[in-house]
């Protein structure tokens, strides 16, 4: 038979969270979400994906100009190797190589200070 001293009422903080379990769930969920989004954004920035993301503000003008349809035909890894096979490969290789070398990318000097910074724009109509 328990006496009166054995019956201890629940402490107040415990009863508070027990009564507000849904609120606790929401808070924990929000904290976890913020943590995961932070990690994702960190990876997005550190991996260099951000530099290639043309859906960012300021890049929409060029995002439609991404070459999506020019799929390169894969060279088959199966089959025998004959002189004709090598000739076919060279033909395919030349097509792709001409595409790769068609543009002398990042040439020119658009960041030349004489042209970019020190040109008197007000003097040019």
């Amino acid at each position: 038979m328990p006496n009166d001293e054995d019956i201890i009422p629940a402490t107040k903080p415990e009863s508070f969270w027990r009564d507000h379990r849904f609120l606790l769930l929401i808070i924990v969920t929000v904290i976890i979400s913020i943590g995961l989004v932070s990690v994702s954004l960190f990876i997005y920035n550190v991996s260099g994906s951000a530099q290639l993301d043309l859906s960012r503000p300021g890049f929409q003008s060029v995002s439609s100009k991404v070459e999506r349809n020019k799929q390169t035909q894969e060279f088959s890894t199966t089959g025998t190797v004959t002189t004709e096979t090598i000739d076919d490969f060279v033909k395919q290789y030349d097509e792709q190589a001409s595409r790769a070398k068609a543009v002398d990318a990042f040439n020119g000097d658009p960041l030349n200070p004489d042209a970019l910074e020190f040109t008197d724009i007000s003097a040019n109509p």
């Binding site: 530099q51 060279v90 002398d104 000097d109």
Partner: protein, 177 residues
């Protein structure tokens, strides 16, 4: 011992002074007129930089796809076909590896350049024309490095083709024997 300590301090001070000179020289390359021009044209320069950033990003994406396809869809698959037929493709595989390494360097250099350009755009050129000028100068040198990477990739593409022709010559010779 005391004299040795003094000598060490003097040497350290001399090193610091020598190291500081280029930085000072670099940051003070602008004269007042140039500073005024940057301040006056600040918004226009930033707009130009933003346009360049967008067009270079597009160039990076499109060129990157083509260079990547060259490796994964052409070179690697041809090397695999040779290996599957028990033919020696070590020379071609080595060239493909070199090409892949160079492609990785190209990606890294572009990333560094884009970050540098971003940081230049973020600088308030009206308040800090010297810092802005320095940031653009750094971006400029990084862009030059990317162009060098592109040229090396093109050379490697030619080298691989030459190696395939050499392989074909050897293959024909061995087939005839």
């Amino acid at each position: 011992m005391k004299q040795f300590s003094r000598l060490c301090i003097l040497i350290a001070a001399a090193i610091v002074m020598v190291a500081a000179v280029p930085v000072h020289a670099q940051s003070s390359t602008l004269n007042d007129d140039q500073r005024d021009r940057i301040t006056a044209n600040c918004l226009t320069i930033k707009n130009t930089l933003s346009q360049l950033r967008a067009s270079d990003a597009l160039l990076r994406v499109n060129r990157g796809q083509v260079y990547e396809a060259m490796k994964t869809r052409i070179m690697d698959r041809f090397n695999a076909r040779l290996s599957n037929n028990g033919l020696d493709s070590r020379g071609l595989s080595s060239l493909a590896k070199t090409y892949d390494d160079r492609l990785t360097i190209f990606r890294t250099h572009y990333d560094e350049y884009a970050r540098q350009l971003d940081s230049a755009i973020r600088i308030d050129c009206a308040r800090d024309p010297d810092g802005f000028h320095l940031a653009i100068a750094n971006a400029r040198s990084k862009r030059t490095v990317i162009h060098e990477d592109v040229k090396r990739l093109h050379v490697l593409i030619d080298d691989y083709r030459s190696s395939v022709i050499d392989f074909k010559t050897n293959f024909q010779r061995v087939s005839q024997d």
